[in-house]
Amino acid sequence: MSATSSAQQMASLYESTRAALNASNPDLETVRSRLSQLKVGLVQITAQSAQVARDSAFQLLKRSILEMGAELSIKTGDIAGFERYLAQLESFYFDNQLGLSESKVMYPLIGLNLLRMLSENLIADFHTTLERIGLDQLQNNQFIVHPVKLEQALMEGSYKKVWQARSEVPTPEYLFFMDILMTTIRNEVASCAEKSYTGLPFADAKTVLFFTSMDELLNFSKERQWIVSPSEKRITFPKNVENTRLFQGENIMKQNLAYAQELERIV
């Protein structure tokens, strides 16, 4: 079978898979198995004929397949898979040497990826990716602006804004990562609270930590080993006594010995 004809076959398989994924109630298992067929096809064609592989129509197909893969992994909650697809798509998005037209889902996917980095606390990667996005998109594209604003709020500590951003997501896909982000934030808030309050009443603690029910709060308190007193309806944070010994003898000894050694070399 020639590479060209199999590329055509793949295109039709892609169309049908796409339709299956876009259906109102998609059968994710079928989509997944077809997707892996498509991926095998991609590798085979690249190996068979370098000429077809360089063809821009084929590259376009490859990009669409990878994008579909990324969408599917969001639907199935496969974060590692999503990361892999995005890593492959990066060369299409940022290093466009073939002159392909810009993909419609490019910015939503990049935005999702940014959100993923935030939820995994990969702030350095987040900023490296931001550097590569043009200023115009950075300020006006709703898919990009959302994670950028979130990051600013996170950095300055406006957790309330982060909480509110949950209801302002540009597409429902963003919710998947927002939920993960919420857990991260809750832990952040908890560690801030430990340091800055001596204690909090139940009701206040519940709102501060964005809990909806009392049970969640109590479980969370147990996890973080907070002192809960049901009679006062109050949580007290254990003060960890910091080990600030003023005189660190060993350290000074080490430093002085090092100086002596260096001085000896000079004299």
Partner: protein, 491 residues
């Protein structure tokens, strides 16, 4: 006296005579440099070669292809290696000059000398804006490098690579140069050509950063080691690129260290003004991001004063902790920051402004309500103010306590710093710095082996030569950076 003589002579010379005089001087200078090269090769002493290269940029302004062709003709010996003679003829071709017949009286051309001619030709083509031909010639030169590997080639080759990459950059397809530079890096590492390796690393970093491939740049830097005894100009450039990459990846303390070192290693004169300005711009931002306030004296240096004006206003806004003023500065200078490619970094400063504000409030008030903080810092809501203050407490920005029920922040007593081990640490850092400085200067001393004994016999001559050499150094040392500078300016 001598000035007067010069003036009268100029009057007497006709334009033709003047031209002939210029050509004569140029020929002399070129021949002298070639002699230095040959001497360097014979003694395998790199500093003769450096001396020949030092004047390259001074020659650049008065280079004439005819003169160069004439000298090259003197090296068209039939006993030249094939690669060398091929290379010489492509240099002549690129300059648009006749290829001379090989004559038996001509001297044998060493690869270094051939490269030197190539380098001059590259410069000429670059100035004449013949980028197409320049790129072609550079390809030939670079191909020759891979077939000949000699330690004495090192310095010449590193410059050839610089212009190789420059040609690609000015003609707008820098990414095409990447593969070859990477291959050359491998060769240079294996052959232990330190200067070339250092040059290639900086060129590659620049190449990646041109396309904003910070990831790749970072990985390249992590997998390679920059040669320890590379020339300062290259080291300064390398440190600058590293600083930029680290700043983007939030590794501020490393970035600050590298940028500070870059400002110190870069020669401080008018020729490198662009480089210094750029380094200082990034340095100021990184300092601010780390929560420090850069020294006022930076903004007073004459060459930095004007270009750093936006950064100065930015610093003021951050220092005061005024969010409105900060946003105003960012809005007014947006174009400027964008041009310097620091806008994203600047936008990260927002929370530093808030932190600075909180810190000054906590110092001024022993107890303040959250609502007042909210008003003072122009925050959106009291709840946010509470979270922000809580975060500042956890990050160690301020030492305070929040009373949630009564809605106020209470600052803790200020500790006496001298009762902690903080001064000890500061002291230790400084001592370590001084000791390292001492060790480095010991390491960088040079002791030429045996050579000086011969020269002792001609002490007078040696002293005279040294003086001449020192004079040359004074005049030409920094010319070396002019082009690098141009590169960094348009970065």
């Amino acid at each position: 006296m001598s000035n007067n003589e010069g003036a009268t002579m100029e009057v007497e010379l006709t334009p033709e005579q003047k031209q002939a005089e210029e050509r004569r001087i140029l020929t002399e200078d070129l021949n002298r440099n070639v002699k230095f090269l040959e001497r360097g090769i014979a003694a395998s002493e790199v500093h003769y070669i450096h001396r020949a290269l030092r004047t390259v940029l001074a020659l650049r302004k008065r280079l004439q292809p005819e003169v160069l062709a004439e000298i090259i003709a003197g090296y068209a010996s039939p006993s030249n290696q094939k690669t060398v003679s091929d290379c010489l003829s492509s240099i002549l071709e690129a300059l648009g000059q006749q290829r001379p017949a090989a004559s038996s009286t001509a001297k044998v051309c060493e690869p270094e000398v051939c490269m030197y001619f190539g380098l001059l030709a590259q410069l000429f083509l670059l100035d004449a804006k013949e980028f197409e031909r320049g790129a072609q010639l550079s390809n030939v030169l670079v191909a020759m490098v891979s077939s000949t590997q000699r330690r004495t080639l090192d310095s010449v080759v590193s410059r050839v690579f610089f212009y190789y990459s420059r040609f690609f950059e000015v003609s707008g397809h820098l990414s095409d140069a990447r593969t070859l530079l990477l291959n050359a890096l491998q060769t240079a590492t294996l052959a232990n050509m330190k200067e070339t390796k250092a040059m290639l690393l900086t060129l590659l970093l620049r190449n990646y950063m041109h396309y904003k491939l910070y990831d790749q740049a970072e990985r390249l830097a992590a997998k390679t080691t920059f040669p320890a005894d590379a020339p300062n100009n290259l080291l300064a450039r390398y440190l600058y690129y590293m600083g930029r990459i680290e700043a983007i990846q939030l590794n501020y303390s490393q970035a600050q260290m590298h940028l500070l070192e870059a400002t110190r290693k870069a020669p401080s004169n008018a020729a490198t003004a662009g480089f210094q300005q750029m380094v200082h711009k990034i340095y100021v931002i990184v300092e601010l991001l780390m929560g420090n306030i850069p020294e006022r004296s930076i903004f007073r240096v004459p060459i930095l004063k004007k270009p750093l004006q936006p950064y100065f206003e930015l610093t003021q806004a951050v220092r005061v902790g005024d969010l409105a003023q900060f946003q105003d500065v960012v809005r007014r200078y947006q174009e400027k920051f964008l041009e310097d490619q620091v806008l994203v970094l600047v936008q990260r400063l927002r929370h530093n402004v808030i932190k600075a504000g909180i810190r000054s409030i906590s110092i001024a008030y022993s107890r303040i309500s959250l609502r007042d903080i909210c008003i003072k810092l122009h925050l959106d809501s009291e709840e946010d103010a509470e979270y922000i203050v809580a975060k500042a407490i956890r990050d160690g920005v301020i030492d305070a306590n929040i009373d949630h029920e009564k809605g106020y922040v209470k600052s803790a007593e200020i500790h006496n710093v001298y009762a902690t081990s903080e001064p000890q640490h500061a002291f230790d850092r400084r001592i370590t710095f001084c000791l390292n400085l001492y060790n480095e200067s010991v390491k960088s001393m040079r002791y030429p082996g045996g050579d000086h004994r011969k020269e002792l016999a001609y002490a007078d001559e040696a002293i005279k030569r040294e003086r001449e050499y020192a004079h040359e150094l004074e005049n030409e040392d920094f010319d070396d950076d002019v082009d690098g500078d141009a590169m960094d300016q348009d970065l």
